[in-house]
């Protein structure tokens, strides 16, 4: 599968970085071709998968191998030639491991697109060089921003069909720049590519000497994601209380959950919300021993000095000098994903971390 096996068998592999990215774009922007190209050029497609896709392409009357069939895994998708739900693909280079969420472009499947995009570090939005920024480009970029994706990569695709002209690239870039002031994403990059021909996908293009930037793959391998988590505001939503009786740990009681923000250390003073009781972190335990500190997105077990405090699922452990606001009246933007319309004044369940209040 991979040419450089040795790179994968060393300890480096065990310490690899993970980048989750999502791809979005209008229906014919070449999203599946781009992913197919990326997987193909990084040698991530297995022989039996390729044979299966070749056979399926033939059956559908395609003369060329249709790489979209690699990710369109459902019968209904293959029959109709569309993407209905997000498909996940996995590949690795010696630098990073990647999870791709290939999401549908059709507007009626937006909720599936949102599902796939929500866990991404980076969103790739494809723009057809011939059509420029269209409504769907803005919609997808806006959704990425709403989901708080930190990095946006605008790939201006099909450059081969506009004679690889720099002006086309610059015009689209300026156009999107104007719109992007409405977004909350700080890191936006632009790359001119041809997914079909392979320009600037894995290999640097010789057709666009005017472009001095990185290729698509190089960007994915090097985008800085280490500072994407909030390490300042300490937030530990309690997922469940774990109690155990054993010889070494009689009457053990700990709070299990995922660190959503900040760094917790044994000895830290903490406050449990909403009760407001304060205590200290006694220890952070794992099956493999004690931890010196815990940070996002670790799932940990926290042991508190005073374990008579009433803390249960849905409560949040924070630090006294940095507390979240608590209130009953909140103003928020609601994105409605159900076919049935939202009823104004209706009662709905809200899930907020591990809490599920009604509203």
């Amino acid at each position: 599968m991979i040419d450089t096996i040795n790179e994968f068998s060393t300890a480096d592999y065990l310490n690899m970085d993970l980048l989750r990215f999502t791809t979005a774009g209008s229906v014919d922007d070449g999203k599946s071709t781009l992913i197919g190209r990326l997987l193909h050029d990084t040698k991530s497609i297995f022989e039996d998968q390729l044979i299966a896709v070749e056979q399926a392409s033939k059956k559908m009357g395609d003369h060329q191998v249709n790489l979209a069939l690699l990710t369109d895994g459902l019968r209904a998708e293959r029959e109709q030639g569309i993407t209905i739900d997000v498909a996940y693909r996995y590949f690795a280079t010696p630098k990073r491991k990647f999870i791709i969420a290939d999401t549908p472009g059709h507007i009626q499947y937006t909720r599936n697109m949102v599902t796939g995009a929500s866990t991404a570090n980076l969103a790739v939005v494809l723009v057809d060089a011939r059509h420029g920024v269209v409504e769907q480009t803005r919609r997808h970029a806006f959704i990425a921003s709403l989901l708080q994706i930190k990095h946006l990569l605008i790939c201006i695709n099909k450059m081969d069909l506009v004679e690889y002209k720099e002006e086309v690239f610059n015009d689209i870039r300026e156009d999107f720049d104007d719109f992007s002031s409405k977004l909350e994403i700080q890191d936006i990059q632009y790359i001119p590519i041809s997914a079909l021909k392979g320009d600037n996908v894995v290999e640097k293009s010789t057709n666009m000497p005017w472009y001095q930037g990185s290729t698509f793959l190089y960007t994915l391998e090097n985008v800085h994601i280490a500072s994407d988590y909030n390490l300042v505001d300490c937030r530990f939503p309690v997922q469940m209380v774990i109690q155990a009786q054993s010889e070494d740990q009689p009457g053990f009681k700990g709070y299990a959950g995922k660190i959503e923000g900040g760094i917790f250390k044994p000895g830290d003073e903490v406050i449990a919300l909403p009760s407001g009781f304060t205590t200290k972190v006694k220890s952070i335990d794992t099956m493999n021993g004690l931890m010196d500190e815990a940070f996002p997105p670790q799932s940990v077990l926290m042991n508190l000095e005073d374990d008579h405090i009433d803390i249960s699922r849905g409560d949040m452990i924070v630090k006294p000098n940095n507390q979240p606001q608590i209130g009953q009246d909140i103003e928020m933007m609601v994105c409605w994903l159900n076919e049935k319309q939202m009823v104004l004044g209706g009662k709905y369940a809200i899930r907020h971390t591990t809490k599920m209040p009604n509203a």
Partner: protein, 301 residues
């Protein structure tokens, strides 16, 4: 690497632990589907970590086709004893005897498909409302589409065209009576990740994953273990080979590969160099282009 940054394996581990705790919190009666294969063994390790120092708060359930590798059953029983866990064995043979399932006919009969009957029956009988499966999205194209929390209707069916939204790490386990969820904590793991994790965690696995000599029959491009459960057809011959299994399932549809790998590092090298997916050795997936999707819709793992 940055001090406050997790390696990909640690990220996957933390994600799976979160999912398991979420299931234990949201559901009344979860169960972990245990096949004795490497993915379910890794799931068990993750469950230990998720609830430590308490015991795993749900039983393990093995859907027993009766066509088992002896080594797997031995391994299963030892593991269960070590964990002090509860093991439920649901027997496909019993479903057949009771007339609920019909054994396949023909030269290559497999109990793979009819396991679904036994599985759904057992879920109903024990009133399980969530069942952990070791399925991974990199295994197969229909699995690549599935949510972590995958809803099943009262007939145990999956509707792939109408899956629920699943945003960030918010998981929605709301359901009607009689419905249940399949939950896949290893969704984002690849075959390589599983092996690497087994290596760094020093997790014991059944020794048929390592090279051994065995009587095999060449069929559909892979080697099937010779056993009382397969009929050697005309033109096929039983031969002795040094082989190992990349996956472990029902004996009649789990193919072996020729290999000399006798330690985990060798397996990792083999996986890195493999040109075929691991399910390439599974004849159950080769029956049609959408074999997995069709089985999953009916309630398969």
């Amino acid at each position: 690497m940055h001090k406050y940054h997790l390696s990909h394996l640690k990220q996957l581990e933390n994600e799976a632990v979160f999912i398991m705790r979420e299931v234990a919190s949201q559901f009344e009666k979860p169960v972990l589907l245990f096949s004795g294969g490497k993915d379910s063994i890794v799931m068990v390790r993750l469950a230990q970590k998720a609830f430590w120092p308490a015991k795993i708060p749900f039983p393990l359930m093995h859907i027993d086709t009766g066509h088992n590798f002896e080594e797997t059953i031995e391994f299963r029983d030892n593991l269960v004893e070590e964990l002090g866990a509860e093991l439920i064995v649901a027997s496909v043979q019993q479903s057949i005897d009771e007339g609920k399932a019909v054994e396949e006919k023909g030269p290559n009969p497999s109990r793979n498909k009819i396991q679904t009957v036994t599985l759904l029956d057992a879920i109903e009988k024990h009133k399980f409302d969530a069942a952990f499966g070791g399925g991974r999205r990199d295994e197969e194209k229909a699995r690549a589409k599935e949510r972590f929390f995958s809803h099943r209707d009262e007939f145990g069916q999956w509707d792939p065209k109408n899956q629920r939204p699943e945003l960030w790490n918010l998981f929605n386990g709301k359901k009607h009576i009689g419905e249940h969820f399949r939950v896949f904590p290893l969704s984002n793991w690849t075959e390589m990740d599983v092996w690497q994790y087994i290596a760094i965690e020093h997790i014991p696995i059944p020794h048929i994953y390592y090279t051994h000599e065995r009587e095999v029959v060449r069929r559909d491009g892979s080697y099937l273990a010779n056993s009382p459960f397969i009929t050697v057809m005309e033109g096929e011959k039983v031969e002795k080979k040094m082989i190992r299994f990349r996956t472990i399932g029902d004996m009649t549809c789990t193919g072996a590969v020729e290999s000399s790998a006798n330690k985990i590092e060798d397996i990792i090298l083999e996986v890195a160099a493999a040109r075929e997916t691991e399910r390439g050795t599974r004849t159950d997936d080769k029956r049609s282009e959408s074999a997995m999707e069709d089985r999953k819709k009916e309630g398969y793992f």
